[in-house]
Each structure stands twice: as C-alpha cells, then as structure tokens.
C-alpha cells in the first residue's frame, strides 16, 4: 500500500499538467457525487416566483381605473419583491395599503406583474442565471455532471476493456488470430465514428444515457487496440514471456498477469483519452437531439439552450455555462493524459530538466568568472 501511495506521489511530483488535470477531474467527480448537497436547486426545479412588481408594471398601472395614490405607493414600495402565490401577493398589497382593492384592479395588478421566470441573468439568487424555463443553470450543471461523467467514464471503461482485450490478445496470439483481430480493428477504424454513432442512436430512438455510453464504448476502441497491440508485440518478444511459457503458465495468465501490467500506463492513457472522446461525443449526440431530452446532462443543456434561442435573446449564460464546463472538463482530462505521457516518455518533461541544466551551466560560468578574476588579481 505504501508503495502504491509512493508511486502516486512520484507521479504527481513536478508534473504540473497531471496535478492541474487531476484537480479539475477530482472537483467534477466530487460535484457529481455530492450533487444533491451542493446544488442550490433541483435540476428541473423552476424558479417559484410568479409575481413581481417591476418598473414596467408600475408604468402600465399608472392612472388606470380604480388606482389610488396609496395603492401606487405600496406597489412602488414592494417593487422587486417576488411572490409565489397570487392570493398571498394581493393580500400583502391590501394589508400594506390598508384598503380593499376592487376586483378588476386586482386582476390588472396580478396580470401586469406576472413574472416570467425564464432567462434571468446571473444574480445572487442564481449564480449562473436561469434557463428559459426558470431552472437554475448552476444546479443543472452540477446534476448534469452526474450523467455526463457516468457516460464518459462508462464509455471509457467499455472502450478500454475492449481495446485491451483485442490489442493484447492479438499481439500475444499472433498468426491467424492476430490477422483476424487486426482486420476487425481496421474495419472499426475506417468506419467514420460519429456518423455510425448517429445511425445507432437514431435507430434506438431517443437513446438514454446508458445506451449512449454503450454505443460510444463499442465504437471507440479501435485506435487504442492498435496502439496496445504494437506495444505488447515488443513485450511479446521479451524473454520473460518465453520463460513464463516454459514453466507452463496458461495463455490467459500470461496475457493478464505478465503482459498487461507492463502496459498499464498506456491503458490508463487510453482510458482517459476514450473518456474525453465519450464526453464530447455524448454532448454532441444530445445537442443534435438524439439523446433523451428529459434527462439533464451537459449535452441536453446545450440542446435546450439552442432550442430556446438563448444566444439570440441575449441569454448567453444558458449556452456558455455548459459549453465552458465541457471545455474545462475536457481540458482537465487532456492535461491528465499529458501528465501520463510525461511519465512514460520523460523526454517530454524537458522544461524542468532544462531548468536544472541552466542552473548547472550558470554555476559553472560563475566559477569560471571567479577563477578568471582571481587569476587577474594574482597577475
């Protein structure tokens, strides 16, 4: 266990992309897991405020039949307060004014101060504003992370498992098995991925998150399988595999116990890469309406934002919030992947090493200068 912790610490030490990436991903995972505790509102909960007096309301009500100065003063005083219930709203006005309001005026006040909850800009109540339907964008993002992450990691897992099985088996077995598996990889590789996903998703109707995860998982393993195959081919030739065969290890044990642990860094990279692809593909699928629109995910948020012409009516928050969230999450995964590359290929980690060389070089130069000065003084 301490070895495991040690290797984790060694992985993150001086590996800033990995640290940043892991922080981002970790934050999202925590948000998703504790969504009900963190999110200020429910995912589909509408803003309950139905009545609210604004300047516009006051303008429209000014000088109409039955209006008195007292009522007008009360309305002005109540400006900006929200009410969930019509009767409560009207009773508050009556009690504050101290007189009864005639029925037609009541109707007019209620009508003119009716509050459309949609598209509220970011405020203290709604940090990221609301959607057209009056749902809190921040809460939707947090709840949406649950499904989006689940689909992403699920599809990543499916894709990685298939890639490992196909790639490592092909490399180990060789011969006809290898040829067949490589053929399958090539077929899946040349089939354009997104159109295939579109066709499958359309065929399944409004695909739920599970079907989307499976569809993405089973269409995104080919690239990883090829990479893993080529890497395991070189391990296949190593003598410890021959030695394991010579002592009579079974084929499956050789693949799972002897070979796979040697490419674990590649598998991890493959998992992260597939997850990233899956999150983006899921958002894409749902954005074009092939997902289940009643489920709150980052993709359906974009779909609704587009359907509600959020950008055209100036509700940029409804569109930008999920878009930026997806970008940050994708960036986090990409950084994590980059950090893994640093470990498997330390040459990429040039920055830090170059700093060390520079330091050494400066030290040497300074010594040289000091020596020259010394010599001059002696002369």
């Amino acid at each position: 266990m301490s070895r495991f912790l040690e290797s984790i610490i060694r992985f993150f030490k001086g590996n800033s992309p990995a640290v940043i990436g892991a922080t981002i991903i970790g934050t999202f995972v925590l948000l998703a897991v504790f969504a009900p505790l963190i999110a200020p509102y429910g995912a589909l909960e509408r803003d309950p405020i139905k009545y609210k007096i604004t300047d516009e309301t006051l303008e429209k009500l000014a000088g109409i039949e039955g209006m008195s100065a007292e009522i007008e003063a009360t309305l002005a005083a109540l400006k900006g307060h929200g009410f969930e219930d019509k009767h409560e709203f009207l009773r508050t006005i009556e009690t504050q004014t101290g007189t009864e309001i005639p029925l037609p005026l009541q109707k007019r006040i209620a009508g003119y101060s009716r509050h459309d909850p949609g598209h509220e800009p970011p405020s203290r109540r709604h940090w990221l504003g609301t959607t057209r339907a009056g749902q809190d964008v921040l809460s939707q993002l947090i709840y949406g992370a649950r499904i989006s992450l689940l689909v992403g990691f699920g599809a990543g897992l499916i894709g990685t498992v298939i890639a490992v099985l196909m790639g490592v088996t092909a490399a180990y077995m060789g011969g006809k098995v290898d040829e067949l598996l490589v053929f399958m990889m090539n077929v899946v590789l040349v089939i354009p991925n997104l159109p295939l996903i579109l066709v499958l998703a359309a065929f399944l109707g409004e695909a739920g998150p599970h079907s989307i995860a499976i569809i993405i998982g089973v269409t995104s393993w080919a690239w990883g399988a090829r990479v893993l195959r080529s890497q395991t081919l070189s391990i296949r030739k190593r003598e410890f595999i021959t030695a394991a065969e010579a002592i009579g290890e079974s084929k499956w044990r050789i693949i799972v116990v002897e070979m796979v642990p040697n490419v674990i860094n590649l598998i991890a990279g493959q998992f992260v890469g597939t997850t990233l692809y899956a999150v983006l593909a899921e958002a894409g699928l749902e954005f074009i309406g092939l997902g289940d629109p009643s489920v709150v995910t980052w993709g359906t948020m974009l779909l609704w934002a587009q359907n509600n012409s959020a950008l055209i009516v100036g509700a940029w928050w409804e569109m930008l919030a999920p878009a930026i969230t997806i970008s940050i999450f994708g960036g986090g995964l990409a950084l994590l992947n980059m950090g893994m590359d640093y470990v498997s290929n330390p040459q990429l980690k040039g920055g830090g090493n170059m700093g060390l060389w520079k330091k050494r070089y400066n030290e040497i130069q300074q010594k040289r200068l000091a020596k020259a000065r010394n010599d001059k003084e002696l002369a």
Binding site: A243, E245, I247, V257
Partner: protein, 328 residues
C-alpha cells in the same frame, strides 16, 4: 561411459522458412544433423558463433519450436509423443531453460517472490501459502540471494545482472529441474560475476545431479564448466569430445580458429597460427546446400570440401571431428 543418458538428441534438423511465395518455399536450415547426449550430473557445452544453431537446438528441446526431423528422447521417450497437457507439463517441469539476458528474462512488474513462486504454484509443488513462502525462501537461500525476505520483495530493476541470473537459476531449482538448458547464461554478465554463476551451476550439477546443456560462444567458460564440448558451425557439429581434448588438442580448423581467439595469459606468443584467410560471409545453410559448411572460410579447403559433407571421424575414445583432413 556407463551412465544412462537422460536426454538423447539424434540427427536433429530444424528448418525455418525464409521466403514464402505462392509456389515456392525457401528454407534456412538452422540445425542440421545434430546428435548429442546429456547425462545427469554432467554438462555438455555447445560452442559456436552467432547463428550456428546453438540456441535453436535448445529451443527445439524446450518445445518452443517444433523440429523438422530427428529424434529427441527424454528418459527414453520421444518428446513428440508428449501431446496431452499433463505430459507436456511434466516435461516442462523437468526440462528448463536459462536465458542469456537476465534483464529480459524477469518481468519488470513482478517481484522476485512472484518469479520463484509461480513455477511452484503451476506445478502444484506446494500445498498452501506458508509452505510456498518457506520453499521460496529456501530456494533463494540456495542460490545465494540473502537476506531472503528482503530479496523476495525486490523487483528485477533493483537487482544486479548476476542476482537476476541467480533468480532465473532459482526458478529451475524450485521446480527440481533435471535438465537445464543454459543459453549463454553468463555472456551478459560482468566477468567478475560470471564465476559466481558458473560455480552456482557447478554446485547444482553436483548436489542435485542436474544435467546441463551449456550454450556459449566463450570456449573458456565452457572448458571451466563442462565435461564435454560440442563445437557448432552453421548448424553442424564440427567437433565433439571431452572438454580437455577439444580445447587442448583441437582438430577441426574451425575449433582451432575459435581457440586462437581466446587470449591465454600462460601461453603468450604461442597462439595457434592460422594463415590469413579472406573474410567471407558466413553461409546460410539451406536443405539443398552441399559440401562442408566451413569450406568458404577454411584455409585447407580442397575441391572435395565444396562437393561433399565430410563424415564424422572418430579420433579418440570420445573425440569426433567432421573434416576431410582427418580420414574421411
């Protein structure tokens, strides 16, 4: 020789396909008509340069490659008859290979314990976990990897080359192997460490009566470790005999050439002198090739050498040579 051989190799031939057309198939003959016996408690050294078929012979014996022709008898039974899993496993337990590169022969992701424990588990030599631990530790002690408990936890990269080779030898010890095919076990090691490994194998030979096939290109270590030496060239055995005979009285021109390449501090200036020969490519032997394989490099080549394969000639009680210079 009254001893009963544990392993008999008779006229072994191994071809590899080199070019595969639709109608034609070309083969390379890596091992041609090779025969030798292995005896318990004795070592046979196979000496030769790269590509002489030394390793291929060992790999055929250890079931890594199928043979093309010939017989391999293990305790009197042809190994081709071992087709069911149980007999193959039993054979594998008794015949093990030690590899040239101790850096490649151990899986970098597993500990020493795993490497010694797996053979014991696969062949069900131990019954439970505590017995397994005891056995692994005793094996590590036997191969001199002490302190055993610390060593068992180590990974291959934490060991030196000599220690890794000791782990590999420990695997064969754990199995109670009767025939060890040692494929250049010392050539990747520092000279200072070689002797330790050779002495360890020597001890195995004496204490456990193990038969060794010691493959090397270093005739000096072969003389030190083995009782018999077979010199191979391009898949053929050109000279065999007791180690002392072959190294002190080499008869085949190739053996003489090999020995002249060994620096000997005691015999300064008395190197076996060979006329300068033109550097020639080592021929690729094909099933249809004729003549003596060494003819292209030999200083004594006659027209006969290019036409006919010289027969094996008996020079002494246990000293054979394949050359027209000696009878034939």
């Amino acid at each position: 020789m009254s001893l009963q051989p544990i392993m008999e190799v008779r006229h072994l031939v191994k071809d590899f396909p080199t070019k595969q057309g639709i109608f034609t198939k070309q083969y390379m003959r890596a091992v041609n008509d090779v025969s030798f016996n292995l005896y318990p408690g004795r070592a046979l050294g196979i000496v030769g340069e790269s590509g002489s078929g030394k390793s291929t012979s060992a790999r055929v014996i250890s079931l890594q490659y199928p043979r093309t022709a010939g017989e391999i008898l293990f305790q009197g039974n042809d190994i081709a008859t071992f087709t069911d899993k149980a007999s193959v496993m039993a054979y594998r337990r008794k015949v093990q290979m030690i590899f040239q590169d101790p850096y490649g022969a151990l899986n970098p992701v597993h500990t020493v314990f795993h490497h010694i424990a797996r053979p014991l588990q696969i062949h069900k030599i131990v019954q439970n976990k505590s017995e397994l631990e005891d056995k692994v530790y005793s094996v590590l002690e036997k191969v001199g990897l002490i302190p055993v408990e610390q060593t068992a936890k180590k990974y291959a990269y934490q060991l030196s080359g000599g220690q890794r080779q000791r782990v590999c030898i420990g695997k064969t010890l754990a199995l109670g192997t009767e025939v060890v095919l040692a494929d250049e076990p010392t050539s990747a090691l520092d000279v200072s460490i070689r002797l330790g490994i050779l002495n360890l194998m020597e001890a195995m030979k004496e204490d456990f009566n193990t038969a060794f096939l010691y493959i090397t290109h270093d005739i000096a270590t072969a003389r030190y470790f083995t009782e018999e030496i077979a010199v191979m060239y391009v898949g053929h055995m050109v000279e065999t005999g007791d180690s002392r005979d072959v190294t002190s009285n080499p008869q085949h021109p190739y053996t003489q050439l090999l020995l002249s390449a060994v620096p000997d501090p005691h015999k300064r200036g008395s190197r076996i002198s060979l006329p300068e020969v033109e550097k020639k490519e080592i021929p690729t032997w094909r099933p249809e090739s004729r003549g003596c394989p060494f003819a292209s490099r030999c200083p004594h080549t006659t027209p006969q050498c290019r036409e006919q394969m010289p027969p094996l000639t008996k020079l002494a009680d246990n000293h054979f040579v394949r050359c027209f210079l000696h009878g034939g």
